[in-house]
Each structure stands twice: as structure tokens, then as C-alpha cells.
Amino acid sequence: MNDPFDPRIAEGPSELTLDAYVTGDADPEEAAAVEAWMAADPANAALVEARRAGFDAMPQARPQAMLARIRQGLDAAEARSGTEAAADAPRPAPRRRFSLGQWLFGGLALAAAAAAVVFLARPGVEDPGDVVLTKGALALEVFRARGDAVTALVSGDSATAGDRLRFVVDNLPEGPGHVMVVGVEAGGQLFPYFPADGRSVAAHGTLRDDRSLPGSAVLDDSVGQERIWLVWCPQAFASKQLKPTNAGLATADAACRTAGFTLEKRSKP
């Protein structure tokens, strides 16, 4: 076998220098060196361009899932540090339309929504006791359909009224369990996205082969930041047992797991 310990495996900028250049952290001297290196060989320039493309050039990466788990980890850390605060008094949930149909996504035929069911949920708030968020690998991926265009959202992305959201569950815990997706408005109002009746459903048997939840949610015209939460619990539960807190979302069972996602709801241009 060749010796893998050449003093310098290759000429040119180091990995760190290239990253500093792409992220804008490089100083002028380093930037000039990288640009000279790029000019010397089209392959070098192509390599930097691929690096500029970020996650788009790394098909195996799942940035949405990573972001969701980072948020979950931060929420759990805050909860553990005792910063969790009690939520405000119960509020009426906003109206959401939930279409029970399917939609086109990722080249897979999902028919247009068959019907939109308007519901109004007014969850009561139960004291979650000492329950804190449980850190885990559960993650929520959110896809937005606008017309025929479907986009995999990254937490923090925006959507407008009429956009349809589809939810995909990542890394479901082993064993039987129940799932639900809820939204929490900036004002703290909690409402169920899926299922529309605010009662959890068995995860296995509900998730499709592509790990998606059936149906899609159609956004109304409210604006502002919203947190979407995927909740998994070993036992059946209801949305009224979930409680928004400053640190995240409290559940009625310490064994539950949550995964959050931030959505910026904007008015139509």
C-alpha cells in the first residue's frame, strides 16, 4: 500500500482555507491565493463552485432533518436547564384547513386535495407536571406545494396563504407509538395540523412508505412565525395534552419525543 503520510497530500489551499473563502471568512491574502488556484485549473474552479452550492452538492445530506434536530437539542437543553416556563392561559386555536387528499410531490403522484375540512379546536391546557422535552433522533421534514412546484423547506423558510404543507417523519422511535403534528402561533395558540381532530394516530399503519403523513395542510392568511411540532408518544394522546412553553412544547408523558420546525408565514406579494 502506498504511504498515506505524504507531508502534503496535494498542492493548493487547505480544506479550511477553501471553506473560509466560500463562507466569506478568508482574509484578502487567502482569497487571492484561492482565486489564483482556481484560475490555474478549471477543475479547481469547479471544486469551489461545488462547495458554494452547499448542501445542493451533497445529495446524501439532509439539512432539514439536521436543522430540526438542532432545534430539538437546543430546546431540550433549555428545558433541562430549568428555563422552561409555564404557558399562558388556554387560548382558542386558530382556524386551519386540512385537506384529506394527497398532492403531487417528488415526482410521485399524489392527487389533488379531495376535500378541505375546516375545523376549530379549542384545546384545554393540562398541567404537564415535571415533564420536559425528551431529546431524541425524531425529526420533522416539511414540504411546501405552491401550484405545481414542491419545495423541501428548511426550518425558518417562508410560506404564504394557499400553500400546502406536507409532513414527513424521520427516525421514528422503535416500537409502537402515536403521532401528531401541531402548530403553535407566535401568540402561543396551539392547533392540530394532523390529525385534524386533535387525536393522535398510530404511527405504524399511518405513515406511508415514503414516511409521509397522509394529506396536506392548506395555510390560511395569517402571518407571523409559527412553530410546527411533530409529537410522538408511546401512548395515544390528544392535542389538549400538549402545552407550548418558552422552551418548546411540553407533553403529558416524559417518554414522548418532539421535533420542531419554524415556519415564517408571510402575506402574498
Binding site: 473560509a20 466569506g24 452538492a57 432533518a65
Partner: protein, 169 residues
């Protein structure tokens, strides 16, 4: 103190870099995701210390490298990571042979921690000794010594691999 920087902005700018670096060291996409998540959680929790960094990329490089080295040193993970021979690593500036990378990962899992950090900087990231010295916060001479010791130990390790453990330098 919580970091007063939007996570999404930070992740868009530096997420690909951290993930790519983790993938280079670990050679396993799932492990690289786990490392990326943990690095960003630490960055956000570091708060002001992170913001005060003149070059966030250098700070992230350090904690990513350290975290990944700890991962491959974890005996529970080692076998799975070292068996990751088909990792899809994005193109880099260093023309690396996948077989050599597998060998390097195996060695990094067992090497002296300080030598491993220097070896990552020089043999994986293609840094000069001067650049590695700046990033690692040691002298250039120290980098040279660490790399020399790592190389001697690694060559002995490779020569004696089936027979037993070489002595650590």
C-alpha cells in the same frame, strides 16, 4: 448566554462546511449528520464566545474535528464507522484514495489525541505546518513533531497490525 444569531442563517452559511468536514473524518453520512447537529448545538450554546470569534469557520473547524475524533475513539461506534468504506465524500482539494482514508480513520481512532488532531489538519485537510500551527494553537515545530511521531507510530502500527498493538509514542 444564548447566541444572538439566527440558527438558520448560521446553518445556511456554515452547515455544509461542518457536514463535509465531519463526513471526511467519519466517512459515514449518518454519523456526519449527528456530528453536525452537535457542533451547531454547541455553537449556539457558546453564545458570545462564538460571536467573538474573528473567524467562525476556524472555531467550527476545531470543534468539529475534536468532536469527530472523539466519535471515532468511542469503541461502541468505532467498528461501524471504520466499516464505512462506501461513504460519499464530496470532492475536496486533497486527492484522497478511499482506501487510504479508511486506513487513516482506523489509525486516528487509536492514536494519541494531540497527534491525531495534527494528523487530521495535515494529512486530511492538506494544511501546511504553519497553517496547522495557527489553527491548533501550537508552534510550527510542534506540529512537525506531532506529525513525525504520528507517522512513525502509524507505520509501525500498519506493519504490525495483525500481530498486536504497537507502543504509543
Amino acid at each position: 448566554m444564548p447566541l444572538d444569531v439566527d440558527l438558520d442563517t448560521l446553518f445556511r452559511q456554515y452547515g455544509p462546511m461542518v457536514y463535509r468536514r465531519a463526513l471526511q473524518i467519519l466517512g459515514n453520512p449518518h454519523a456526519a449528520e449527528e456530528a453536525t447537529q452537535e457542533v451547531f448545538i454547541r455553537a449556539m450554546k457558546a453564545g458570545d464566545r462564538f460571536v467573538a470569534e474573528a473567524r467562525p469557520s476556524t472555531w467550527l473547524y476545531r470543534i468539529t474535528t475534536n468532536y469527530c475524533l472523539n466519535m471515532i475513539r468511542d469503541s461502541k461506534r468505532r467498528r461501524a464507522l471504520l466499516d464505512a468504506r462506501k461513504a460519499e465524500v464530496a470532492p475536496t482539494s486533497v486527492a484522497r484514495d478511499p482506501q487510504k482514508m479508511t486506513v487513516l480513520r482506523g489509525l486516528l481512532a487509536e492514536a494519541d489525541a494531540q497527534q491525531a488532531r495534527a494528523a487530521v489538519a495535515v494529512y486530511i485537510d492538506g494544511m501546511s505546518h504553519a497553517e496547522a500551527a495557527r489553527v491548533l494553537g501550537v508552534s510550527r515545530r510542534t506540529v512537525g513533531n506531532l506529525c513525525d511521531r504520528f507517522t512513525r507510530w502509524a507505520r509501525a502500527r500498519l506493519a504490525d497490525a495483525p500481530a498486536g498493538e504497537p507502543r504509543r509514542p
